[in-house]
């Protein structure tokens, strides 16, 4: 039997987990391509708490219903306005009397065509998803062991054994957007409006837009952009697909959480050596049985120092039962 056994209940462990682990904010970014379009996200989230923490028989615990809160989530999709070519046209039709000589082709001299719009900068449509944060459902589950790890600290801090998460599995479900109020549609309109305003602001003259629209065959720039975005389904389904498949936002969240686990702070700390009695200096001996002043002339006050009593930790271990986490260790003799 170990010299020391500490027991932590499931409830207390969950409270400590929820107090310590959400302390980080996780900024992230990523991008991806889909159907010839480029999209990117910039975001930041933090963990609010785990809805449920349960100890398992397999010496692990499960933190489920982990509540993630978004601080920022911006989705951008590039508008790749294509290079527009003016096609060939016939400068001079072939006169009938020359058709035998030059062949049956109707055109004698042909303009080879050229590019009207080239190297178009690719503005993007930017969706600030803050308006629909509450509709973005993210389900995260962690199954983890805990491990003990010794850490050396410079004085005056004590060295300690820390109890850390030792991740067994981390599961992030693809996000769902359950936008019951149709906010995604308003976001889309706002995003395209902003892109249209931006393009108008950089153009030397508005007739250029008309030339462009005439060639691509759309009545307005906003409809042209909407067509480029290629929204075949509802806006929220389109957004969900973009964020999950080409961007892989679940993987981005996974990576941030995984990194956070690896660099996490200790859930519990056990000083090594453990202080059993702290040093008391000076102590009044009269408190311990009544010694008088000492010294040759009897003027020196009688003092005594009670030394600090410590014991080194041996064989620390941490295990779970179905209801408790047990930390055990021995003292060095």
């Amino acid at each position: 039997m170990s010299d020391v056994t500490l027991k932590v209940s499931e409830k207390t462990f969950g409270e400590v987990f929820n107090k310590l682990w959400p302390a980080f904010k996780a900024p992230f970014s990523g991008d991806g391509s889909w159907a010839g379009l480029w999209g990117a996200v910039e975001g930041q989230f933090h963990i609010v708490q785990a809805g449920d923490v349960e100890f398992n028989d397999a010496n692990t615990f499960t933190a489920s219903e982990i509540d993630l809160q978004w601080d920022k989530l911006i989705f951008k999709i590039g508008i790749d306005i294509p290079t527009i070519k003016i096609g060939k046209f016939c400068l001079l039709p072939t006169p009938d009397f020359l058709k035998d000589f030059f062949g049956s082709d109707d055109c004698l001299v042909e303009f080879p065509g050229g590019q009207l719009f080239t190297a178009v900068p690719d503005p993007y449509v930017k969706f600030n998803l803050s308006a629909i944060f509450q509709y973005i459902i993210t389900e995260i589950t962690i199954i983890s062991k805990v491990k003990m790890q010794f850490t050396t600290e410079p004085p005056p801090d004590s060295n300690y054994w820390g109890i850390y998460l030792d991740l067994v599995a981390l599961h992030v479900e693809p996000i769902q957007i359950q936008d019951t109020l149709g906010q995604s549609t308003l976001l889309l309109i706002a995003a395209i409006d902003a892109a249209v305003q931006y393009i108008y602001s950089i153009l030397p003259a508005t007739f250029v837009i008309d030339v462009l629209l005439g060639i691509v065959g759309f009545p307005t720039l906003s409809e042209f952009i909407l067509n480029i975005l290629d929204i075949q389904e509802s806006v929220e389904e389109w957004l969900t697909k973009w964020l999950n498949i080409p961007i892989g936002i679940d993987q981005l969240i996974y990576q941030k959480l995984f990194d956070a686990v690896l660099s996490d702070t200790a859930l519990y700390k056990i000083d090594d050596p453990v202080t059993l009695l702290t040093e008391l200096t000076p102590s009044d001996p009269t408190n311990y049985g009544g010694f008088g002043p000492s010294g040759a002339d009897g003027t020196m006050p009688a003092v005594v120092t009670l030394a600090k009593v410590t014991a080194n930790v041996l064989q620390p271990a941490v295990t779970f039962t179905s209801h408790e986490m047990m930390v055990t260790f021995d003292f060095a003799k």
Binding site: I86, L92, K126, V208, D210, I215, S222, L226, S234, E237
Partner: protein, 248 residues
């Protein structure tokens, strides 16, 4: 261009699209000159810019072989010519007798001219700055407005109108507007382009064609009106998108 970036945004890099003045004496992007080659033989074509030859092309006109036209991109020739001596041709081509030498500038802001000389290069036969009977000058005007068109040699003139386009219906005519520049002046004396439509001026006498915007046609809608229309169209278009699928 990134939002808030330091680069000046530029939607178009083709300066020809905003050109409001054209001249056959200076070949620019979105213009071309076609010159017939009725006699067989070997010719030296010199590409010039700012009174200096920048590249040469060897042109052979055959009695029976070759293409109907030889296309010389003067912009490309200038770039090729930078790396080699002027007496080394940047391009060689063969056309049939009666075929055309077509000169164009695929890009850039340069203004070029071209001369055609005999095989020795000593005897100049044609200079693009002075178009001859049978030459074709084409241009692609984009900026809306009313233009003056002048033959600076015969002093004849005409007017051209490029309308402001508000709707997508009247776009991109396939056929150019054909105009004849003869001793009696231009025929027609006034024409209107439709959509993005090229204009081809066929010279029936020695010509130097100048075209200049006289009065720009302003957009009758303000930018605010246009943005409001854009927004309205967008709202209607978005309303036509599918609704969210029902959830359990």
């Amino acid at each position: 261009v990134k939002e808030g970036g330091s680069r000046v945004p530029q939607l178009i890099d083709n300066p020809g699209i905003l050109r409001t003045a054209f001249s056959s004496a200076g070949l620019t992007a979105n213009c071309s000159i076609a010159h017939p080659m009725p006699q067989s033989g070997r010719y030296v074509v010199l590409v010039g810019k700012q009174e200096r030859s920048v590249a040469s092309v060897l042109l052979e006109v055959s009695e029976s072989d070759g293409e109907k036209q030889a296309t010389v991109d003067v912009f490309a020739m200038e770039n090729t010519g930078r790396t080699q001596a002027l007496n080394t041709p940047s391009q060689s081509c063969t056309i049939r007798k009666g075929g055309y030498l077509l000169l164009c500038a695929s890009q850039g802001q340069g203004s070029y001219y071209v001369t055609v000389s005999d095989r020795t290069g000593q005897k100049q036969l044609w200079d693009s700055r002075k178009l001859a009977d049978g030459d074709l000058y084409s241009l692609l005007p984009i900026v809306p407005g009313v233009y003056s068109v002048t033959n600076d040699i015969s002093r004849s003139s005409a007017t051209m109108e490029v309308p402001f386009r508000h709707h997508a219906a009247d776009r991109t005519a396939k056929r150019p507007v054909y105009v004849k520049c003869g001793p009696a002046g231009f025929a027609p004396a006034h024409w209107i382009t439709q959509g993005v439509q090229p204009v081809v001026i066929a010279c029936a006498l020695t010509s130097s064609i100048s075209i200049a915007l006289q009065k720009a046609t302003a957009d009758r809608r303000s930018k605010e009106q246009r943005l409001a229309e854009e927004h309205q169209h967008l709202v209607e278009a978005v309303a036509r998108l599918k609704k969210p699928s029902s959830r359990q």
